[in-house]
């Protein structure tokens, strides 16, 4: 399975990359903003995408909407600092499959990804 990491913080991108090392996920790209992310989605159609919401230029929700238009099969895991419920619900509405609040540690990622990836196998 292929993974795309979208976060405006390079530290965050690298943290996610590091913590998801144990999964059988091939990281095919990272993006620091929505536009860059969409380019990669168009080109490589990643199976799984982690997506931040607070980003410059294009925010995560808009980006999510576009991703779903291009590549509806993508399983999007929102990883955001925005802790309010409505943002999460909006993300689900737009097609996200998982939702995580920052700060996320390795354990949180593991649990959320177990859930995200297992569901599909069933």
């Amino acid at each position: 399975m292929t993974l795309l990491i979208v976060d405006d913080s390079s530290i965050m991108r690298r943290t996610i990359e590091k913590n998801l090392g144990d999964y059988n996920l091939e990281i095919i790209g990272t993006a620091s903003n929505g536009n860059a992310a969409l380019e990669i989605v168009k080109e490589k159609k990643p199976d799984v995408i982690t997506l931040d919401i607070t980003m410059p230029e294009m925010d995560g929700l808009t980006c999510l909407e576009n991703i779903m238009e291009i590549h509806p099969a993508a399983k999007v895991m929102i990883i955001t600092a925005l802790s309010d419920k409505l943002t999460g619900l909006k993300a689900l509405d737009k097609g996200a499959r998982g939702f995580m609040y920052k700060p996320v540690n390795a354990d949180d990622l593991k649990k959320a990804f177990d859930k995200l990836l297992k569901k599909r196998q069933e």
Partner: protein, 155 residues
């Protein structure tokens, strides 16, 4: 007056909790909160690197976290295991912390508590204007021997 006080305490405590949770959750090392104080906005407490989030919507103001390089270096080392981060990495880290802390507070104020993308800077900003009517609370903190300021300025 009491409800207003509750509100204030809640707000401050939300930020403090968010900060404490950040370090505890990600590093397993707890942070210590020092004695907070009120500050005139023209003389800000700043360390070397600062990540600032502007807040708009129902509440207006800002929150920033300011710390010396060494704290960010430590954090980056914990997160991604590199020893010698670039200045860009340091600024990125400062922005990420402030983003997470401001974002955490949003849970309690909803999506009308809008937070900006982080504004990061090294040293004193050349041009930064804070609303003058805002009381600025400085919450000093320590984590692994590093000092930092969590500064909250809200209407």
């Amino acid at each position: 007056m009491d409800t207003k006080k509750e509100d204030f305490e809640t707000t401050c405590n939300l930020f403090i909790q968010a900060l404490e949770n950040y370090f505890k959750h990600l590093t397993d090392v707890t942070s210590e909160i020092g004695v907070p104080y009120i500050k005139e906005s023209d003389t800000l407490s700043l360390k070397n690197f600062t990540g600032l989030i502007g807040i708009s919507g129902n509440r207006k103001g800002f929150v920033y976290i300011s710390a010396d390089k060494s704290m960010y270096v430590d954090l980056i080392n914990i997160f991604i295991g590199i020893d010698d981060p670039t200045t860009e990495d340091i600024l990125d880290m400062a922005g990420e912390i402030s983003n997470v802390i401001a974002g955490s507070v949003r849970a309690n104020y909803g999506n009308n508590f809008n937070i900006s993308v982080p504004i990061v800077f090294e040293g004193m900003p050349k041009q930064l204007k804070f609303p003058s009517e805002v009381a600025v609370f400085v919450i000093p903190m320590k984590w692994k021997g590093h000092e930092a300021f969590l500064v909250v300025g809200l209407e």
